[in-house]
């Protein structure tokens, strides 16, 4: 069996609907955020990705995750 990594996933705003707020999941080593998005199955057609953060820093969808990182996924949000 190939090596696995544990990722804490946080969902926000419309992404929580019918899903979860925070969950820890296991993925294959060298998984990208894109892989994780496929796994969670968010309605990206209706609510496109706004911001992705890993450990509080902005990243892109091709970011390769490491064990015990925190991934936060936001649709487009704003206010002021």
């Amino acid at each position: 069996m190939s090596e696995m990594i544990k990722i804490t996933i946080k969902l926000f705003a419309q992404y929580r609907e019918g899903k979860f707020k925070v969950e820890k999941r296991e993925y294959a080593k060298d998984s990208t955020i894109e892989d994780i998005l496929d796994d969670i199955g968010l309605d990206l057609g209706k609510f496109p990705i706004g911001v992705l953060m890993v450990n509080g820093r902005h990243v892109q969808e091709d970011f390769v995750l490491e064990d015990e990182q925190i991934l936060a996924i936001f649709p487009k949000v704003g206010g002021g």
Binding site: Q14, G56, H58, K76, V77, G78, G79
Partner: protein, 578 residues
């Protein structure tokens, strides 16, 4: 008939209705208020003395059917910052003033007899000035009820509560919204200026106005359609804001480590999940109430809401991110309902959410109050601030003055005005706006959070210095121009990402006035406004040394990002090279 300047002199209780000078014709909103303040107010005057003036001006598009055009600007010299101030608000005043033909309402002087307060009623033909001893000591909701009883439900009302009467620096001016609730000219202590002029309330006749004249109605309609579509199709103004309100920001700012908490000791809060927009929306769904409410007629974004308690009874409306951050994260109240209760009390009293909330955050570093003690904060506001006890005066003076009285170093203000809900060390572009805007620490003056955190208008790393001065400058120029149109600041989201949005906005202005403005003209308008305001501040004695962040942010790192404020003075001062 063309628009007029309505000028009231409180020193002899008279008014004049004047033609608009040629050089003011193309101006509205902030462009007009800052121009008038710079032209007519001595920058060295005492803000609460006879030589300060209040200038109310609806935006260039206010009173038209343009979506989100219902903002009124108020300009004056600020008693909080000692510099020029423009504070704009939704509510019903902009549309009604514009339709009545009021280009600006300028109020000057102070009554010789200061034993009572006055009510100004503006109609097309005149301004009635009447003593209202029966309203003295009343707060905003009571004044609102009295005015709606006297005139019609639609009358526009601007008023102050007891803190404004007492000229407290946290006091604001409340404006009636379409549902009879309140919005505020919030920042800079402008309620104190109204109190100094002994004005309890101003009403604008809503029964005898005419529809706003359009130079080219067809062209206007076409541009308006494109503009509205841009607002509705943008995922932020069309989806996120109506669903979760401005409070949707708590989680994303917290995640980025930019949510000031424990009086700016940390950039993340343990209360975030309790107070966030998602929790608020869930409560609204379970308890009744409404997630959508427009603060002015013609708003298609509807970011405001009606928030009820567990029993379904009304608690608050216009329950905004800044309020919830200030009392929830920065002062530490973990119960959203308790924050809502305080919000409603503060609406009634007429005190600024940011200045008051940050003051409580600083107060938690003294023996005045414990961190997170919402019950005590409510009591202090209700009893001490309202009645002007010594403790009420201490809180009512704002965060900067409280810090001085108690010998504190950790005082998050710029130009003596409290820093809003984005930590300047961790959202550096926003920090540049705080230190450079002529308004004192103000998030709306140049909302770099959009590009630093929200990925609107691209992305610039919030923790790096590179590109932040230029970003803030461009946003401040654009915001000064947008603040002149009467538009809500949230048009910035579609404007940053949708190339059709700004041209449609300019087309509407051209169709309204029969003008031929280009994008460059609008940029130049924004630049001119900033320069006029900066010049006023320099003459008022606010120099480069005032364009600085509180010193503790230069030597204390901010968890969890360990960010520090590392701009040099030269880097900051580069802002004004345009």
């Amino acid at each position: 008939m063309s628009d007029k300047i309505y000028r009231v002199d409180m020193s002899n209780l008279t008014y004049k209705i004047e033609d608009v000078p040629q050089e003011w014709l193309g101006l509205g909103g902030r462009g007009l208020t800052s121009t008038v303040v710079a032209a007519e107010v001595d920058p060295e005057c005492h803000p609460l003395g006879p030589n300060n003036k209040m200038v109310f001006a609806p935006g260039l598009l206010s009173g038209t059917s343009a979506a989100n055009s219902g903002r009124t600007s108020l300009g004056a010299k600020s008693p909080l910052t000692g510099g020029i101030k423009e504070s704009n608000v939704g509510g019903t005043s902009a549309g009604i003033m514009a339709k009545l033909g009021v280009k600006a309402l300028i109020i000057e002087g102070i009554p010789k007899d200061d034993s009572t307060f006055y009510h100004l009623h503006v109609t097309k033909e005149k301004v009635e000035i009447e003593a209202v001893p029966e309203l003295v000591g009343k707060d905003n909701f009571a004044v609102l009820d009295a005015m709606m009883e006297k005139y019609s439900k639609k009358v526009a009302v601007m008023s102050i509560g007891r803190p404004g009467e007492q000229k407290m620096l946290i006091s604001n001016i409340s404006v009636k919204d379409p549902k009879g609730k309140l919005r505020s000219h919030g920042r800079g202590g402008l309620g104190a200026v109204m109190g100094s002029k002994k004005i309890k309330c101003i009403t604008i006749d809503a029964e005898n106005y005419k529809e706003t004249h359009l130079a080219d109605p067809e062209k206007f309609k076409e541009a308006s359609k494109i503009f509205t579509k841009a607002l509705q199709e943008n995922p932020i103004s069309g989806e996120g804001l109506p669903a979760f309100g401005t409070n949707v920001l708590v989680n994303i700012i917290n995640e980025a480590g930019g949510l000031p908490s424990h009086n700016f000791r940390s950039g993340s809060s343990e209360n975030a999940e309790n107070i966030c927009g998602e929790t608020m929306a869930e409560n609204i769904k379970n308890r009744g109430g409404s997630t959508t409410h427009g603060c002015h007629a013609g708003c298609v974004i509807q970011c405001s809401q009606t928030y009820n308690d567990k029993e379904g009874n009304y608690l608050a409306s216009g329950f905004e991110y800044e309020m919830i951050w200030a009392f929830g994260a920065n002062f530490g109240i973990s119960d959203l309902d308790q924050i809502a209760k305080i919000d409603n009390l503060m609406d009634d009293l007429g005190v600024d959410a940011i200045e008051t909330g940050v003051t409580f955050g600083v107060a938690a570093d003294t023996d005045l109050i414990e961190y997170g003690d919402g019950e005590r904060a409510y009591e202090i506001l209700k009893n001490d601030v309202a009645n002007g006890t010594p403790i009420g005066r201490i809180i009512g003076g704002g965060a900067g003055n409280l810090g001085k009285l108690y010998g504190l170093v950790r005082v998050p203000v710029v130009k003596n005005q409290s820093i809003p809900a984005y930590e300047p060390r961790a959202v550096k572009g926003q920090g540049i706006t705080y230190v450079t805007t002529p308004m004192g620490a103000d998030h709306t003056a140049g909302y770099a959070v959009a590009t630093n955190i929200l990925n609107s208008g691209g992305h610039i790393d919030p923790l790096q210095k590179e590109g932040q001065v230029e970003l803030s400058r461009n946003l401040q120029i654009a915001s000064a121009a947008v603040d002149s149109t009467g538009m809500c600041i949230f048009v910035a989201f579609p404007a940053l990402d949708d190339p059709k949005c700004l041209p449609a906005l300019i087309d509407m202005i051209n169709a309204r006035f029969g003008a031929n403005l280009t994008g460059d003209d609008v940029t130049n308008l924004g630049k001119n406004i900033l320069k006029i305001e900066h010049e006023f501040n320099l003459k008022a004695g606010l120099g480069k040394a005032d364009d600085r962040i509180p010193e503790f942010m230069k030597y204390e790192t901010l968890p969890p990002t360990d960010a520090i404020w590392d701009f040099t003075n030269e880097e900051i001062d580069e802002f004004w090279n345009f």
